[in-house]
């Protein structure tokens, strides 16, 4: 492997990539492989496979893969007229939940990798306006993105098999499906009994060795945890090593970007950050790629105010931070007669996509996909804390008996749903709360559209029907309530052809700053059906290709 370069901060590199997550990892690899000098600035640490554990206290309760919430508080409110508050102690996760470190949230994600369907890109044209929302078409089509989905399949590493409703694909999956689990078998049984069409869950997890990485060993500590095998296709495993192998990509960790600064011509010149010792540095660059996710990319632009950009960098449209979408969801839990042993292997092996499209007969916009999985009840502590069906004892001999019987016999079915884009849902700068570096905290304003909640409830009804048809011994619903946060951070720097209603163009270039590209979940125009990352990465491959062409032509 080539030695890692160390670029001087005062000399311009070709690209600075801010954030090394699902999108940033792809950008770092693509741009360095294309021959450019790249500096990646990542606020979190550089953990490797051997640093990951199965420690429920450290990873789940302390959240050691995320930022410390005492140093990096976030605030939440449902509506713009309310005052946002730091969620009370004990409420657990931050409103905008992501992992900080090389690989970003791709390190601890579940790995459900669903392509969008053609309809996702043009629903506004097909369905018409939805009042009070920013419902719009994407400025690109499925057909344009298809080659890049295929690159995600092959270069990131996705296992699967085509399903009956899938969008057309130009190449088969690189590796076969992961072995079916009991939750998948039960979903399949229940769905078939209802005449539905269960299919293999495409997962960003290797079922067979591929690209020099090993297959999954089914350790079971997958969702929420980092993979000790490099079998989960995080960018940490799949992209970063290849970026570093070019000898042109320097990854600086513990470096928190504070703002972007432009020159007299309005071009980004310096990326200002605090290094691992807390010392302010400025990396000079020819172009900047903002891949800090749907919360932090928006915050960074809003923090980068100047005389030329009084409301934040590239925010002439006022759309930076707006149109946040979390993907609505619902969860249904069930117990079965015989052991499932869901503490083994990956989360999901089967999904049901029969309710993907909006059906106007339902009376509301939206659709989604259904998956079966243990959720958090495959972890001993969380199961004991909250896995017992409502109304049953939570301490004493009967509680113990229930734990002994049902730790191995439980599963959940999730409805993963659309969220409508609305300007009132946003990431903004909190006027009072600051982080440890003195930056205004991320303020999340969010209230689901009634159609989002209706979709989630509809999907839950389907889940209940499937679990009943599969012969569940007992089942219960988590009540669908308005979101107070989420791990899908979408829409806050949307792409579009019109500079008045979008932040970046169809190639991710900021409308107002020619050498600034925003490439991450923030670019989404619509939310898709609940698994955004495959599309985030397909967009990243496409963006990198375009940027490479433009840079070579001297057009960046």
């Amino acid at each position: 492997m080539a030695a890692n370069p160390t670029y001087p901060t005062r000399e311009a590199v070709d690209f600075v990539v801010i954030g090394s997550g699902a999108a940033g990892g792809v950008m770092a690899r693509e741009l360095s492989v294309a021959g450019f000098n790249v500096v990646v600035l990542e606020q979190g640490p550089y953990r490797k496979a051997q640093d990951f554990t199965h420690d429920e206290i450290g990873v789940v309760m302390q959240g050691e893969l995320s930022l410390n919430p005492n140093d990096h508080p976030q605030t939440f409110r449902a509506r713009p007229e309310l005052k946002a508050e730091v969620p009370p102690q004990g409420s657990g996760l931050p409103p905008a939940w992501y992992a900080a470190g090389v690989g970003g949230s791709s390190v601890h994600f579940t790995g459900n990798y669903w392509r969008f369907r053609p309809v996702d890109f043009k629903e506004r044209s097909l369905l018409g306006e939805i009042e009070g929302t920013s419902f719009a078409d994407w400025p690109l089509t499925y057909e344009e993105l298809e080659p890049y989905y295929t690159r995600v399949d092959w270069e990131i590493g996705v296992s699967g098999a085509p399903g009956p409703f899938d969008a057309p694909r130009s190449r088969p999956y690189p590796v076969p499906p992961l072995p079916i689990k009991s939750s998948g078998a039960i979903l399949e049984r229940g769905a078939k009994a209802l005449g539905l069409h269960p299919q293999v869950a495409p997962m960003a997890i290797l079922s067979k060795p591929h690209n020099g990485r090993p297959a999954c060993i089914h350790c079971g500590f997958c969702l929420g945890f980092g993979c000790e095998m490099n079998a989960k296709s995080s960018t940490l495993a799949a992209m970063i090593p290849q970026a570093e192998a070019t000898g042109r990509c320097e990854i600086r960790t513990g470096c928190t970007v504070m703002r972007l600064e432009h020159d007299d011509r309005g071009r980004i010149r310096d990326v200002v950050y605090l290094d691992e010792n807390g010392v302010e540095q400025a990396q000079r660059t020819r172009a900047a790629v903002l891949s800090a996710n749907g919360a932090e990319s928006a915050r960074l632009l809003l923090l980068s105010q100047s005389a030329k950009h009084p409301d934040g960098m590239a925010n002439g449209s006022g759309m930076v931070g707006k149109n946040l979408m979390f993907n609505a969801h619902s969860a249904t839990h069930a117990w079965f007669e015989e052991p499932l042993n869901e503490f083994k292997s990956v989360q999901c092996t089967r999904i049901v996509m029969d309710f993907y499209e909006t059906d106007t007969k339902r009376g509301f916009y939206g659709g989604g996909g259904i998956d079966a999985r243990p959720l958090v009840n495959s972890w001993p502590i969380l199961f004991a804390m909250g896995g017992i069906a409502p109304g049953l004892p939570t301490w004493g001999a009967e509680y113990k008996r229930l734990m002994e019987r049902y730790f191995t016999r439980n599963m959940s079915v999730l409805g993963n749903c659309t969220s409508l884009a609305m300007e009132r849902n946003s990431i903004s700068l909190d006027p009072e709360v600051k982080d440890v570096f003195g930056r205004p905290a991320v303020r999340v304003t969010y209230e689901d559209h009634p159609d989002d909640l209706a979709t989630a409830r509809f999907m839950q009804d389907q889940a209940v029907a499937i679990l009943e048809a599969a012969g569940a011994e007992r089942l219960w619903r988590d009540e669908v309530t308005p979101s107070t946060g989420g791990p899908h951070l979408l829409g806050t720097c949307r792409m579009g052809n019109d500079p008045n209603s979008s932040v970046v163009d169809r190639y991710h270039r900021a409308h107002e700053v020619p050498n600034l590209f925003v490439v991450d979940g923030s670019n989404f125009v619509t939310s898709g059906r609940g698994q955004p990352t495959m599309t985030i990465q397909a967009l990243a491959f496409r963006a990198a290709e375009h940027m490479t062409r433009a840079a070579r032509a001297g057009e960046v």
């Binding site: 199965h54 420690d55 429920e56 206290i57 450290g58 309760m61 302390q62 959240g63 050691e64 919430p69 005492n70 102690q89 004990g90 409420s91 657990g92 996760l93 939940w97 459900n112 098999a161 009956p164 499906p177 072995p179 079916i180 009991s182 078998a185 269960p198 293999v200 060993i217 350790c219 969702l223 929420g224 000790e228 993907n327 969801h329 015989e338 052991p339 499932l340 869901e342 083994k344 292997s345 989360q347 998956d371 999985r373 958090v376 001993p380 502590i381 969380l382 199961f383 004991a384 804390m385 909250g386 939570t394 004493g396 001999a397 509680y399 113990k400 002994e404 993963n416 988590d478 791990p487």
Partner: protein, 207 residues
């Protein structure tokens, strides 16, 4: 995907006093204290932090939350060593709540049963009292710690010989092979069979 609802619920049922952020603040202390507790548990050494009477009360409460039945309970699994390490280390913040709350409980014990300490009562009396305080912070915090002491990595001080995991049927192996459970077994048997005639070819994808 979404786990936050379930996790939020967990942290709520956990206890008002215990939160992710608060644990985070205590974190550097955790590993050191845990190591000590694990050693104390294995060598059956005295506790490092809790006094004998309060330890006996906490352990008695834990033993009602997860009692010994035909399988070991909280006492047998060594939950008190986890509690000792946690209260003396990464959960130090709860001590301010726990001590006066326990004193309050023991005042009731004295008034109603004429005994000095909760741990001196019989199981029925203990259950009656705990039933009255089960939604309060003392009980909820001890429940949370009992569960952690039962099911966290043994290196945190509890879960002696992985007895907590054994009663769940959880096996901490890293490598598994299909079949994983009862319901997927037939699929794998089928997949391994030499010839497979699927009547449902169109919608049946890959094993």
């Amino acid at each position: 995907m979404q786990t936050d609802q379930s996790r939020r619920r967990f942290l709520h049922t956990g206890t008002g006093a215990v939160s992710a952020s608060w644990l985070a603040a205590q974190w550097p202390l955790a590993l050191e204290a845990a190591e000590h507790a694990a050693e104390a548990r294995d060598k059956q050494q005295p506790l490092a932090h809790l006094g004998p009477a309060e330890a006996a009360d906490f352990e008695a409460i834990a033993a009602r939350i997860v009692p010994a039945t035909d399988t070991p309970g909280a006492r047998e699994v060594g939950v008190i060593y986890y509690m000792d390490a946690a209260i003396g280390g990464w959960m130090a913040g709860v001590e301010q709540m726990l001590r006066p709350a326990l004193a309050g409980l023991n005042a009731t014990v004295k008034e109603r049963f004429g005994a000095e300490h909760f741990h001196l009562l019989d199981a029925d009396a203990q259950d009656t009292l705990l039933g009255e305080i089960e939604s309060g912070p003392l009980f909820q915090t001890l429940r949370f710690m009992t569960i952690c002491g039962m099911f966290a990595l043994p290196s945190y001080g509890g879960n002696r010989n992985q007895l907590g995991w054994a009663l769940l049927g959880f096996d901490p192996r890293h490598v598994w092979f299909p079949p994983f459970g009862h319901y997927d077994a037939p699929h794998h048997a089928q997949a391994n069979a030499p010839a497979q005639s699927s009547t449902d070819k169109k919608h049946h994808h890959g094993r």
